[in-house]
C-alpha cells in the first residue's frame, strides 16, 4: 500500500495539481454553479486561467510569500479559486465561517494576522469595517458581489472581478514571479489554516501542510476508488475541514467536479439536479430528509401508502444484505428489483441520491433506523470518524463492513490506540503541524511522537475490530453512586426520535440523570396540524401538554433501550423538561457545526438544572436571545418539569459487574 509514502514532487502542492488537471482534463468540468437558474460550468483549463489571473492580481497588489488571506463566503467557485489563487501566489488561505458574528471574525482575522480578505458581499464588508480597529493588519478587502457597495470608499476595497482584470492586464510583469512561487511550493509548506469552533474557549487555528492534505486526499481517494468522474455537491461550510478535504483536496487530487448550489436554501433541489456520485452529509441531513419523506407519504393516497410500506419493509429485510454482497434468495432479489422499479428508484431520484456510489456521514451518531433505511434503499452510506487535527480521517468503514454504532477501522496510513483512560489517540500522515501561535495547546494535544489525543472516549469492538465512540472523554462523568455517566449516549437515544431535535443530559455528580429536550419544529408542527392543535409560537407549542405527553413517551421508550446496556443503564432520564427556545449558535449554545456546548448551556439555564433536581413541578426563567442582526432581546417562560418512568436494571447483572 502506498499510504505511507511521500508525494511525488510534481504533485506536492495545490497549484501543481491544478496545472496537472488543466493539462490532463482540459475540457472536463471542474466547477459548476447554479446561477440565474442555470448551471454554469468551468473546465479545468478555464478554472486554471481564472485562478492564475486572481493570483497575478494578488501579487500585483503586494501579497508576499507566507501572507495570510481570509476567505469569507458560501460555497462558490470564486472562493475555491481564491483559495487556490492565494496558494499560487505563495500565501496561506484562512477560510472563516461566514455566519460568524463580527466579534468572532475579528478574533480569527487578528489572530492569523490576515493582510487581505476575500469576502462575499456587503454584509461581510460591513462586519469587517465595524471591527476594523481590532484587525490592524488587514489592508484590503476583496469582495465578490458588488451590490450595495458601489458607493463605499474604495481606498481599501476592491471587487474580485477588478482584481482579476488587473491580474490579466499585468500578465507579463507578474509571470516570472508567479512561476517562481508555484515551483517553490513543497510538501512541508503550510497549506491552510482552519479555525476549529471548539465546544469551549476561543477557536484554535489548525495548521495543515500540503503533505497533510494531499497524502490524506490520495489515501482516501484510493480507499473508495474515487476518480475524475465523480460529482460532489459543495454545500457544507468552507471553513470546515471536511469541505476542504472533499471539495478541494480530493477534487484536485482526483480531478473531479465540484458543484455549488444556487443558495443555501436551494440545496435540496440542486442536489436533485446534480445527482452527486460521492456525497457527504451530517446525520441531521439524513434525519431531516427521512422525516420529510415520511410526512409526504402520510399525505399520499392509501394505495400508494400500502405499496410504499410493503416494499420499504422488504427493503429493510433484504437491502443491507444485498449491499454487503451477502447471499439472498432469488425470489427476494426479484421482489427487491420490483420494489426498486416501483418505490426505491423514484424515491432516490426525488431525493437526488440515485447516483450516490460512496456516501458518508459523520460528526454525530446516526440513528440505527435512519442509517438502515438509506442502506436498505441501496445507498452505500458509511460512517467515518475524524477531526480537523487529523485532516478529518481517523477511522472509516470499508464497503461491506458497515454498522450504525461503530465508526469503522483506521483509515489508510492512520494508527489508532486507546489510552489507559479510554481516550482515543491517533497518529497519521494527516496529523496537523501545530495550532497557530499556540505552542501550549499544541503540546497538550500532540505528544513528541506525533500521537494526538482526540478527547473522545471509545473502544475497539472485540468481534469486529471496529472502533466505537462513547462520548467526549471530558464529558464522561460519574453519578453519586459511582456509575458511569455518558451524556451523549442518552442524548443520542432521544435524538433518534423525529420529534426531538436536540437533547442535553445532566447527571455528573448527581443521584440520577435528567435532560433538556428541544422539539423539532417541522415534525412537531406537522403533527400539531394533523391533530388540530393550535399554537401561536414555538414557545407555546413546546409547552403544550400533548407535546409534553408525546415527549414523555419518547423519553420512557429511550429509557427502556438505555436499560439494555448494562454498563450505561444508569443514564436513564429520571426527570426532563422541554425547552422554550431552540438552542442556537448565535446565542453560544451550539458550535457553528451545531454541537451542543453543554457547559455554557448548564450555566445559562442554571435555574432549570436546579429545578430538575429539587423536585419542583415548574420553573420560571428569563432568557436572553440574540437576533440575526446582533440585537438582543429576552423571552420569559414558565416551564413544566416531568418525571419519566425508569426501568430497574436486572439486579443480578449489576451485581455481577
Amino acid at each position: 500500500m502506498s499510504s505511507g509514502t511521500a508525494l511525488p514532487e510534481n504533485l506536492d502542492s495545490f497549484p501543481k495539481l491544478v496545472e496537472r488537471n488543466a493539462r490532463e482534463f482540459p475540457s472536463r468540468a471542474a466547477y459548476r454553479e447554479k446561477e440565474f437558474g442555470i448551471w454554469q460550468s468551468w473546465t479545468w483549463a478555464e478554472a486554471r486561467d481564472g485562478i492564475e489571473a486572481i493570483a497575478r492580481g494578488l501579487i500585483a497588489m503586494g501579497l508576499a510569500k507566507g501572507d495570510h488571506v481570509a476567505i469569507v463566503g458560501r460555497n462558490r467557485p470564486y472562493f475555491y479559486w481564491s483559495m487556490l489563487a492565494v496558494q499560487y501566489a505563495g500565501g496561506i488561505p484562512v477560510p472563516v465561517y461566514q455566519d460568524s458574528v463580527a466579534d468572532e471574525m475579528a478574533y480569527v482575522l487578528d489572530h492569523c494576522g490576515a493582510r487581505f480578505a476575500v469576502v462575499q458581499d456587503q454584509e461581510q464588508v460591513d462586519k469587517l469595517t465595524d471591527v476594523a480597529e481590532r484587525i490592524p493588519a488587514l489592508e484590503r478587502i476583496i469582495y465578490v458581489d458588488p451590490r450595495g457597495l458601489r458607493r463605499y470608499d474604495h481606498t481599501n476595497l476592491v471587487s474580485l472581478s477588478d482584481l482579476r482584470k488587473s491580474g490579466e492586464d499585468r500578465k507579463a510583469e507578474t509571470e516570472g514571479e508567479l512561476r517562481a512561487r508555484v515551483d517553490a511550493a513543497k510538501a512541508s509548506d503550510t497549506c491552510i489554516i482552519l479555525y476549529t469552533s471548539g465546544t469551549t474557549g476561543r477557536p484554535k487555528g489548525v495548521v495543515l501542510t500540503n503533505a497533510n492534505v494531499l497524502i490524506t486526499a490520495r489515501n482516501s481517494c484510493d480507499f473508495d476508488a474515487l476518480t475524475h468522474e465523480e460529482d460532489v455537491l459543495a454545500y457544507l461550510p468552507m471553513a470546515w475541514v471536511g469541505d476542504y478535504v472533499f471539495s478541494m483536496g480530493q477534487a484536485c487530487w482526483a480531478g473531479f467536479c465540484v458543484n455549488c448550489p444556487e443558495s443555501a436554501e436551494t440545496m435540496q433541489s440542486d442536489l436533485k439536479e446534480i445527482g452527486p456520485t460521492y456525497f457527504f452529509a451530517p446525520p441531521r441531513f439524513f434525519e431531516g430528509l427521512l422525516t420529510s419523506i415520511m410526512i409526504r407519504m402520510e399525505d399520499a393516497s392509501p394505495l400508494k401508502q400500502r405499496i410504499f410500506h410493503h416494499y420499504i419493509d422488504h427493503a429493510k429485510r433484504i437491502g443491507p444484505a444485498l449491499l454487503d454482497g451477502r447471499e439472498v434468495g432469488t425470489g427476494d432479489r426479484l421482489k427487491y428489483r420490483l420494489g426498486h422499479a416501483l418505490v426505491y428508484g423514484p424515491l432516490l431520484n426525488a431525493t437526488g441520491l440515485s447516483r450516490v456510489r460512496v456516501g458518508y456521514t459523520a460528526g454525530e451518531a446516526i440513528g440505527p433506523e435512519i442509517f438502515e433505511f438509506y442502506r436498505s434503499l441501496g445507498i452505500n452510506l458509511k460512517q467515518l470518524y475524524g477531526q480537523t487535527e487529523g485532516t478529518i480521517y481517523i477511522t472509516q468503514q470499508p464497503d461491506g463492513e458497515v454498522s450504525a454504532d461503530t465508526v469503522g477501522v483506521p483509515s489508510p496510513g492512520v494508527e489508532v490506540r486507546i489510552g489507559d483512560s479510554g481516550e482515543v489517540f491517533y497518529r497519521s500522515p494527516g496529523t496537523f503541524a501545530e495550532y497557530y501561535k499556540n505552542p501550549e495547546a499544541t503540546a497538550e494535544t500532540k505528544d513528541p511522537e506525533g500521537w494526538v489525543a482526540t478527547g473522545d472516549a471509545g473502544f475497539f469492538e472485540p468481534d469486529s475490530g471496529h472502533l466505537r465512540i462513547i462520548d467526549r472523554a471530558k464529558d464522561v462523568g460519574k453519578l453519586t453512586s459511582g456509575a458511569l455517566f455518558a451524556p451523549k449516549y442518552a442524548e443520542n437515544k432521544l435524538k433518534f426520535y423525529p420529534n426531538i431535535l436536540e437533547a442535553v443530559a445532566f447527571g455528573d455528580g448527581n443521584d440520577y440523570c435528567t435532560a433538556f429536550v428541544n422539539i423539532d419544529l417541522t415534525a412537531v408542527g406537522n403533527w400539531a396540524e394533523r391533530n388540530n392543535i393550535a399554537y401561536a409560537s414555538y414557545q407555546e407549542l413546546a409547552g403544550h401538554p400533548r407535546v409534553y405527553a408525546a415527549i414523555q413517551e419518547h423519553v420512557e421508550e429511550a429509557n427502556r433501550s438505555i436499560a439494555e446496556d448494562a454498563l450505561l443503564s444508569h443514564c436513564q432520564i429520571r426527570r426532563f423538561l422541554v425547552l422554550h427556545k431552540e438552542l442556537d449558535a448565535d446565542d453560544g449554545e451550539l458550535t457553528r457545526t451545531r454541537k451542543v456546548r453543554r457547559r455554557i448551556i448548564a450555566e445559562k439555564y442554571a435555574p432549570l438544572v436546579t429545578a430538575l433536581y429539587d423536585g419542583s413541578d415548574s420553573v420560571y426563567i428569563e432568557t436572553e436571545v440574540t437576533y440575526e442582526d446582533g440585537r438582543k432581546g429576552a423571552i420569559k417562560a414558565t416551564l413544566e418539569i416531568r418525571d419519566a418512568a425508569v426501568v430497574t436494571p436486572d439486579i443480578q447483572k449489576v451485581a455481577a459487574e
Binding site: 437558474g37 450595495g148 443558495s263 440575526e628
Partner: protein
Amino acid sequence: MSAAIAEPTITEDGRRIGGVVMEMRNITLRFGGVTAIKDISFDIREGEVRAIIGPNGAGKSSMLNVINGFYHPQEGEVWFRGEKRGPMKPYQIARQGIARTFQNIALFKGMSTLDNIMTGRLIHMKTGILGQAIWKGGAEREEIENRERVEKIIDFLEIQKIRKAPVGSLPYGLQKRVELGRALASDPQLLLLDEPMAGMNVEEKEDMSRFILDVNDEFGTTIALIEHDMGVVMDISDRVVVMDYGAKIGDGTPDEVRQDQKVIDAYLGVSHD
C-alpha cells in the same frame, strides 16, 4: 409656472438626484361628492426615493393612482417627463414606464413566482400570435432574453428557492417580494410602491427596506412609496410628502417633516379645547 426645474444634486451617500420627472400641479380628485384629494402640488425628481405618508384615509392610495394614471383628476395637471398627461387607456398606462405594487397584493395566485415575474416582461415582448405558435426562431429567442432578465431579478431579490412555487402558497412577506419583482421586470423608470411593508415583521421590513434601497441604487430607479411605518419612511426616503384629509400638510426632507408642527399634530392628534 411654479417650481423651477431643480438642478441635479448629489446626496450624502453619493447618489445623483436629477431633474424633475413628474410634477403634480394643483390636483383635485373627487368621487361623486367626496373629495379625496384637494389641490395638491408636488414633484418627484429623477433617482430619488419619495415617500407619501399620512393617516388612514388621507388619500395616499388615490394619489398613487393619479400618479400612475389610473385616475384622472378633475382639476389640475400631471406633467410626466416634460409632457402634460391626459386620460389614458390601460395599455398606455403600462407603456409609460411606471410600474407599481399593490397594498393588497395582486399576483396570479396559481402561477409560479417565475411566471408571475415573467408577466412583468410582457410589455417588452413583440412576437405575435403566429410567431408564438411557430415558436422556433423569434419567439424562442425572445423568451430566452426575457427569462434571463427575470432570472437576474430573482437573484437580486434572493427568491431562488421559491422560483417554481405557486405564489398562493407563499407567506405574505415573500409574496410582497414577488410583486416587487414583477414590477421591476418591466424595467420601470418610476416605481410606485403601495405600502410595501404593511403586515410585515421587523426582519421582513428590514429586508424590504434593503431591497428598495438597492433597487434605487443599482438600477437608478426613481421610487415613490406610500408607507405607514414612520421609522422606515424616515430612514429610506430622500423627501416626504405628508397628507391629511386629502390635503398636503407638509413636504420636505425627513428631518424637516419630522419637526413640522402640522405633521406632529396630524400624527399625534391635538387637543380640541
